[in-house]
Amino acid sequence: MDSTASLTQRLRKAERRGHWRAYALIAPLFIFVALSFLLPLGSVLLNSVYDPLVPDGLPRTMRALAAWDGPRDQVPPEPVYAALAQDLKEAVAAEKQGAIANRLNIEEFGLRTIFMRAARRVGAQEDGPWAPFFEAADPAWAQPGIWGTIRNLQSPSHTLYFLSALDAKRNQDGQIGPQPEDQRIHVTIYLRTLGVAFTVTFMCILLGFPLSYLLAHLRDKTANLLLILVLLPFWTSLLVRTTAWMVVLQKEGVLNSLLQALHLISEPLPLVFNRFGVVVAMTHILLPFMVLPMYSVMRQIPVSYVRAARSLGAGPFTAFVRVYLPQCIPGVGAGALLVFILALGYYITPALLGGSTDQMISYFVADNMGRSLNWGLASALAAILLGAVLLLYAVYDRLVGSNNLKLG
């Protein structure tokens, strides 16, 4: 009895030791992934809800506003103006006034000028009263509106960027409402992104299903040879394939000149810098991701099942729909989910082959990072995209298993 117990114990101990050794082998990669993948993604999430620029830049003002805590439709008392004057002087000394002004301008267009005007003049005046000074700089300071915006930014952690990413905003009265009409663009972009991803996924199923079916029913040698035709474009650089589609589809391009030479058309067709070009190129690029999982599932479906159905009296159509098709579902599902996930994040191809109304969410993330310099909004848009992708990935992992993510 005693020796059995100790043997079990020793075995268990050995197993635990083995586990620790395995974890030790995985640890270097995991630390590396944490540093160059998980923490960067974490920074995106952090930047989408945390922005201490204004509370850090105007600390006295924020304290004074909190101490006063009056209703939103009133102008704050003199101490708040005095605190703002002091903060402004320090901000100017640290050359941070421009950044704060930009941040206010993001919340309410036009505040940049108002804020900068006060910042430029504040050095000239030693002492208060400050309320008349600000009113002289710009009458807006004597209105409650601008103070509402500043109060909305009181806390460094907030949901303002997410509201903005969903075409909403916190108004100066502190209530949440829609963005002004001309700035309500993001929901359209999400819907467009979903639309393009759906279209591309559908096209991939449409083209990929017959292809996989044929490949699965050919002799192994022929199938392997034809598979090269799927794999070669797969391993060709994404930029090369996008370039190739540009060459093929542009106005003076290969397809238009071919069609004109055949007298099928008299005027070149607009095939690129529009939705058509984006969908065609993305379908081309993502098709292998659909074909490979479908093919590997279809190859394992025994032919005898359909034969049995036929011999039991099912017509070819019934046998296909009721016996063959249900067995393909795992492959179609895996391929479609993967294509959809990958399509959601596409940037390069739409940016090069699409027009201004064909850009997807990634484009606007990059645009807000680079051109508009609204990093918070870029982060919120990216966080929503990331959330959607991870959710679908969790579904994929449950249905297919991430270790089955086979490419090539």
Binding site: L29, F37, L207, V230, W235, A244, E252, L287, N403, L405
Partner: protein, 278 residues
Amino acid sequence: MSASSLPLYTTPAQRLGHWLLVLFCTAVFIFLIAPVLVVVPLAFNNEPYFHFPVQVYSLRWFRELFTNEVWLHAIFNSVLTATLATLLATTLGTLAAVGLNHHNLPGKRLLMAVLVSPMIVPVVVLAVGAYFFFSKLGIANNLLGIVLVHAVLGMPFVVITVTATLGGFDMNLMRAARGLGASQIEAFRRIMLPLVWPGVLSGALFAFATSFDEVVVVLFLGGPEQTTLPRQMWTGLREQLSPTILSAAFMLILFAVVMLLTLEMLRRRSVAMRGVVE
């Protein structure tokens, strides 16, 4: 693709269906391969035009590609970045795959899901995050940042191919080596590694190709010095489609062909070495 493979008892309707399928698939194959092939003759066009027929063939744009400072610098940067990223991804990825191969490892599924996720996370999101995070560490706008993110993007391929190869590896060989007095490291180096190297090498190739083709991360994390081949192509494509881009594209297609052939060779090698009959 011949009708002779159809059984004798097929009805005419089925025959028609079969031929329609073959016709449709031929069209899809053309759709898949034609755009890639179209680039090839145009890259050798003496004139800076992009339509057929090509009048005079020449190596003019290849000369441009391989003599122009800017392009040469870009090629050099790409090779350097991809090599460093591949080394990092392959070393860490192979070690981790050996660990993940341990039977009944608790949390294996979750670990695998995390390690594979760089493949599906939109690269723009990762690039933005890396820019934020690396700026704090002071490694944005230089080569190191790009290499780190590229290694992350290539690592899943290494983990997947090596775990797949290890799946067919007989762990008794390791036990035998250990029993005969080899140390853990020696057994790994002299027994396991020689048997799984085709998997390691395929993973490394995937990782190299991933980095070699990547542009978004370079756009976000690259300083003015880090022009890589894809970035140079991207800049060119946004401004004006130049013939030099097509010659670069041709080189990349060639690279893809070599890669495909090597992978196929490695796959056969791996199968033969493990004695698996497919």
